[in-house]
């Protein structure tokens, strides 16, 4: 198992990434594929039960984000689904046929260097990649991308999928960079490679990109951490419609996938995920998008035990599943199974102010204070300390000697802050007084009137 040790107490403790060559093994096509679509309006999914779908068919033509059928088959169920993250999804189940027909509306693009960037973005979205539509669903309304980072690091300490894509397709990385630089109209491009793969990176012919070797230490594989180190804040669409940051981070696996999809005129149908069961060596599997975890577990031969955990997307930052029927989407990176004896318990103990959480936080949050403020429902203070910036890497809770559930507390604060809305609406309004009739907002002479919703949020804990 991994260890975390500090060197002379001066350097922060280190949690290394897994490093091994694991060519992916294919998981057989399951009986049912399930796609989860996060768009709030279910009408975006223009389908009915009993419809025939072709591989690559656009299932949500009205939606802002892509939903592309990964197989040819029959739609057997459409329902609402509450995800493990608490958000609502529309779930579409497809019973795949053995004979595959590709949707003809996808066309191959032969020469990227002459293609219009707008056309490339639309084609990437049409092929089923959401990495770019997370910035802005409308290809024409794109912001300026100052830096494009192609990352060969996995997010999860056990993850191998992205590393494997880099090992297997290093010869295509140069071209993929060319495609993405053109599609995103990026002024500079950085290829971030873990130090252990420096040999492979050296074989990539030098081009317009800059190669950086990243220490293979958790959480350097997080897109936010890479964007902070080598760019200027991650590029994402804000809740108010505006755009924050100017760095776009795309994994090598996605970049190479986009390249081959655009070349062949076929959609993305498969994804590599890393499987671990606690102490065993991680191994890669290739799944059809929408495969339930159960089908993956059947191939690996591991059956989760009662009171154990099935974790998707990493033992540090991932989520535990309610059931093994949970489908693995295009954003799945890894699956881990924990036996009941490995399940970690956190405690409702007091913070001792040792400061270990602050020293390990990759985004420099004051975790000790955030944890306490969230515990006592002081969410305005959490907002001031930048709770929204937490990337949920889990290092704080991992190192906490008091075993406080720090990620739980911060995520709770984040959700309350999100529910309260943007800061301006929530700005403290003074109580109007008879003398001036206006509110004394600039002076802040009066405490703001308690809001009912805040009280509700406080009670719900």
């Amino acid at each position: 198992m991994m260890s975390i040790r500090s060197f002379f107490g001066i350097l922060p403790a280190r949690l290394p990434y897994a490093d091994s060559n694991s060519p992916p093994e294919s998981v057989p096509l399951p009986d049912t594929l399930t796609l989860l679509y996060s768009e709030t309006a279910p009408s975006c999914v223009a389908l009915r039960v009993g419809d025939e779908v072709k591989t690559g068919q656009n299932l949500a033509p009205l939606g802002a984000h892509p939903l592309v059928s990964p197989a040819t088959g029959l739609v057997v169920e459409i329902s609402d689904f509450k995800g493990p993250d608490g958000r609502s999804y529309t779930s579409v189940s497809i019973k795949p046929n053995s004979r595959e027909t590709f949707d003809p509306s996808l066309a191959a693009i032969d020469d990227f260097s002459k293609a219009d960037p707008m056309e490339l973005r639309a084609a990437i979205k049409r092929a089923g990649f959401s990495a770019l539509s997370a910035v802005s669903p409308d290809p024409k309304a794109w912001p300026k991308v100052d830096a494009l980072i192609i990352s060969a690091l996995d997010q999860d300490p056990h993850g191998l999928a992205n590393q494997q894509a880099f090992r297997d397709h290093a010869d295509q990385v140069g071209e993929a960079i060319g495609l993405l630089s053109r599609a995103a109209e990026a002024s500079q491009c950085v290829l971030a490679v873990p130090e252990n793969l420096a040999g492979i990176a050296g074989k990539i012919p030098p081009g317009s990109h800059k190669l950086v070797l990243v220490p293979p230490v958790y959480p350097n594989g997080y897109k936010e951490v890479l964007a902070r180190k080598y760019g200027e804040g991650i590029l994402l669409q804000g809740k108010d419609g505006g755009v924050v940051g100017n760095t776009l981070v795309i994994s090598v696996e996605e970049a190479v996938g986009m390249l081959s999809c655009l070349r062949s005129g076929r959609p993305i149908t498969e994804k590599t995920v890393t499987f671990t069961n606690g102490t065993g060596t991680p191994k890669n599997y290739k799944i059809r998008i929408g495969t339930p975890i159960r089908a993956l577990l059947k191939t690996t031969g591991i059956i989760p035990q009662p009171k154990g955990k099935v974790i998707v997307n990493g033992i540090m930052g991932g989520y535990a599943c309610f059931s093994d029927e949970q489908p693995l989407g295009s954003d799945a990176m890894s699956v881990s199974v924990q036996s009941p004896s490995d399940v970690t318990l956190f405690q409702d103990t007091a913070c001792t102010n040792c400061g270990k959480c602050n020293t390990v936080c990759p985004v420099d949050l004051e975790v000790n204070l955030l944890g306490r403020f969230s515990e006592y429902n002081l969410f305005d203070k959490c907002r001031t300390l930048g709770a929204e910036n937490c990337i949920e890497c889990g290092l704080c809770a991992y190192v906490c000697p008091a075993r406080r559930p720090l990620v739980h507390l911060i995520v709770h604060a984040k959700q309350v802050i999100e529910a309260q809305g943007p800061e301006d609406e929530n700005a403290e309004q003074g109580i109007p007084c008879e003398t001036c009739e206006n509110s004394c907002k600039p002076l802040r002479l009066f405490e703001p009137a308690p809001k009912e919703e805040r009280a509700e949020n406080g009670e719900s804990r």
């Binding site: 002379f8 403790a13 902070r228 994402l236 540090m316 535990a320 102010n353 420099d364 910036n389 991992y398």
Partner: protein
């Protein structure tokens, strides 16, 4: 289809295995050399004080937690650490009831009344010591020259800081710096074993139990301010080396001021805190009635910890926006 009975919880799903108990045991291990030296110097009396102090601390903690209907947490070792640290800054001759009162004050008033481990604004061991020191009837027990008059340890039985206070720096010529460093001096049971405290403290720094900034800047603060005093008047004030090697400065830098609940978290806060403790020690030694000022300096700086935690790097303002 049979549903699986799976556990669901927020991330992370693994833990480093760090425990409060581990931290306490590391501190106890780090103090072990000083304990052995203390017992070998003062014999069974030192053992009596150490054992009774640890026992009192743990018993009071258990009793008060039972009274407050809280889970009893003496197994985490923090009460034992408080008891041991308190014993090591006391003279070997101190009677049992003084040890008991000091531990009662430290554990009950200094720690549990504020909410227990982590919620204490002051280091509990120092609260216990201070209560004895400021009580007029008991202050004599902490006067090392009086308390240790009946011991023959083979070295000069004069408390160096009392000599400095009474006679000035010119009377210090018979104190050998090497002897002081090796612990051949009058003082607390363990606090006087300077070199062994230093070794234990470095062990804690290497293990990452305490932050290196506090001891380093504590010693720097002591050296810098005593250096300034010494340069202004070499006959009245002792040099920086003498101040670092006497009294509670070494144990203060590594063990008294580093209690996690009552010390800052951010780097610049730690620097200011360490410098403040060191400087305040010298101010008290130079200008107050107390011969040694370490305990009161630490207590005073403990009170400013919430302010020091507000000192932040500019880059601490987070830039990354993740809106997932």
């Amino acid at each position: 289809m049979k549903a699986l009975d799976l556990i669901v919880s927020p991330s992370p799903h693994i833990h480093s295995g760090a425990k409060m108990t581990g931290i306490s045991y590391h501190i106890l291990i780090a103090l072990l050399p000083a304990v052995i030296v203390g017992i070998s110097t003062y014999g069974l009396d030192a053992l009596r004080v150490i054992c009774s102090s640890i026992a009192c601390a743990m018993v009071f903690e258990a009793l008060i937690q039972k009274l407050f209907k809280k889970p009893i947490t003496i197994s985490d070792g923090s009460a034992a650490v408080t008891g041991l640290i308190l014993a090591l800054i006391l003279p070997a001759s101190v009677p049992f009831y003084i040890v008991a009162v000091a531990n009662f004050a430290g554990i009950v008033i200094g720690k549990q009344c504020f909410g227990g481990l982590g919620a204490n604004p002051l280091n509990p061991a120092l609260v216990g010591w201070a209560v004895i020191r400021i009580t007029k009837a008991w202050a004599g027990y902490l006067d090392f020259d009086l308390a240790l008059v009946n011991y023959d340890t083979g070295f000069l039985m004069q408390y160096p800081l009392a000599v400095l206070k009474a006679q000035g720096a010119s009377a210090l010529s018979h104190f050998d710096m090497i002897d002081l460093f090796l612990g051949k001096q009058t003082g607390g049971i363990g606090a006087a074993a300077i070199v062994w405290i230093l070794i234990g403290g470095l062990y804690l720094v290497v293990r990452g139990v305490i932050r290196w900034e506090i001891p380093l800047f504590f010693l720097l603060g002591t050296a810098a301010l005593s250096g300034i005093f010494w340069l202004t008047d070499q006959a009245a004030y002792a040099g920086p080396m003498f101040h670092i090697l006497t009294g509670n400065v070494m144990i203060g830098a590594f063990f008294l001021s580093t209690d996690s609940g009552s010390s800052p978290v951010n780097r610049w806060g730690l620097v200011v805190y360490g410098l403040g403790c060191g400087a305040m020690t010298i101010f008290l030694r130079a200008w107050s009635d107390y011969s040694d000022g370490v305990v009161f300096a630490c207590l005073l700086m403990n009170l400013f910890v919430p302010l020091m935690d507000k000192i932040k790097d500019k880059q601490k303002v987070p830039e990354v926006r993740s809106l997932g």
